[in-house]
């Protein structure tokens, strides 16, 4: 079967791009929530 490696690479790339993006959003969310916690302590 020709080009199976390219097909695999394409599908892996799509999965990887979406999940790396999802993880970057999660990381940013964690950081901003830490900031909220810090500010809430300051404003108490």
């Amino acid at each position: 079967m020709k080009n199976l490696d390219s097909l695999f690479a394409a599908y892996m790339a799509v999965w990887a791009i979406f999940f790396v993006y999802y993880l970057t959003v999660s990381r940013r969310m964690s950081r901003i929530q830490d900031e909220v916690k810090r500010l809430k302590d300051t404003l108490k």
Partner: protein, 305 residues
């Protein structure tokens, strides 16, 4: 709990081990699907008893069950999120197993089932960003700015998928990775324009001014979207004519249609989940800006006393 409220839940952190486990689950799912596909093409029956086949099917099942469970721990996932993740798994299986092999291009044509749905999801995200920018300029409500930036960012991700899968498909079929034809060039320009949109937002500190400037730029950047859509209809260059809604000579085999629709629904669903998650981030960021302002005011008041 209100997502825009500073009283947000802080137990929502993603531990590193969970992140790594997500990647392992994903890699297992992809590898299993790949091996299963190889076995099918080597003459094995999909329900065969070969060790690779059994392992692949088990891994696919586990991936489809475990992955949503892992994701549900990283953020408050609902029923629709699980449905989308199952659809993503189903889309992968349908594209690799069920769709018939195209006669001239062979198996590489199966990239189509990720390439075109990525583009379609990207278009929907950018149209959302465009509408949200217009509404923001009219109403000046921050939520429209949050929606505009969230959908623009997710649109870029979708177009990145399209721009990555395109050359992988083009190389064995055209003999080249890339060419500056009308479709590819206008798509690349669109991608660069929206990267510039995100960079522009980082340069302006004042929230209202940032929202206005980026809404105007977002509307300008969107002008390239119709050009991208029409480019292979108006000019016949390297990129093939559209197979869907492309005139009397276009069309798909009925089974290919069903597989394409499965993949399209899965990617649209994933796009919506990502926009929603990104919108929550933007709303929380706005809450932080307000809290910072309040902290500064309190400091100034206590200094004046």
């Amino acid at each position: 709990m209100n997502d825009m409220d500073p009283q947000t839940d802080h137990s929502n952190r993603t531990p590193l081990w969970l992140t790594l486990l997500q990647f392992v689950a994903l890699a297992a799912l992809a590898f299993a699907m790949w091996q299963a596909w190889r076995q099918v093409n080597a003459g094995a029956r999909p329900a065969g008893n070969g060790s690779w086949m059994a392992l692949s099917q088990l891994a696919m099942l586990l991936g489809a069950v475990i992955l949503p469970m892992l994701l549900s721990r990283t953020y408050r996932a609902g029923g629709s999120d699980y449905l989308v993740l199952f659809m993503m798994a189903a889309a992968g299986i349908a594209a690799l197993y069920i769709a018939p092999t195209e006669r001239t291009m062979g198996v590489i044509q199966r990239i189509f089932y990720m390439h075109l749905p990525s583009a379609a999801s990207g278009f929907v995200a950018l149209i959302t960003s465009f509408i949200a920018s217009i509404v923001y300029l009219r109403r000046r409500q921050p939520k429209w700015d949050w929606l505009a930036v969230s959908s623009a960012e997710v649109g870029i991700v979708c177009f990145t998928c399209m721009l990555v899968t395109g050359p992988i498909w083009a190389h064995p079929v055209w003999g080249i990775w890339w060419t500056w034809d009308a479709k590819l060039t206008s798509t690349f320009i669109l991608w660069v324009l929206y990267i510039a949109y995100l960079l522009l937002r980082t340069l302006i500190a004042e929230p209202e001014r940032r929202a206005v400037v980026s809404a105007v730029f977002g509307i300008f950047a969107f002008l390239d979207v119709p050009l991208v859509y029409l480019s292979n209809r108006l000019w016949r260059t390297q990129h093939p004519a559209p197979v869907i809604a492309g005139g009397p000579n276009s069309g798909l085999d009925p089974l290919m249609w069903y597989v394409f629709l499965t993949c399209l629904c899965a990617l649209l669903g994933l796009m919506i989940i990502l926009v929603r998650q990104r919108y929550r981030l933007e709303a929380t960021r706005h809450a932080v800006e307000e809290m910072n302002l309040e902290a500064q005011l309190r400091e100034a008041r206590s200094g004046a006393r």
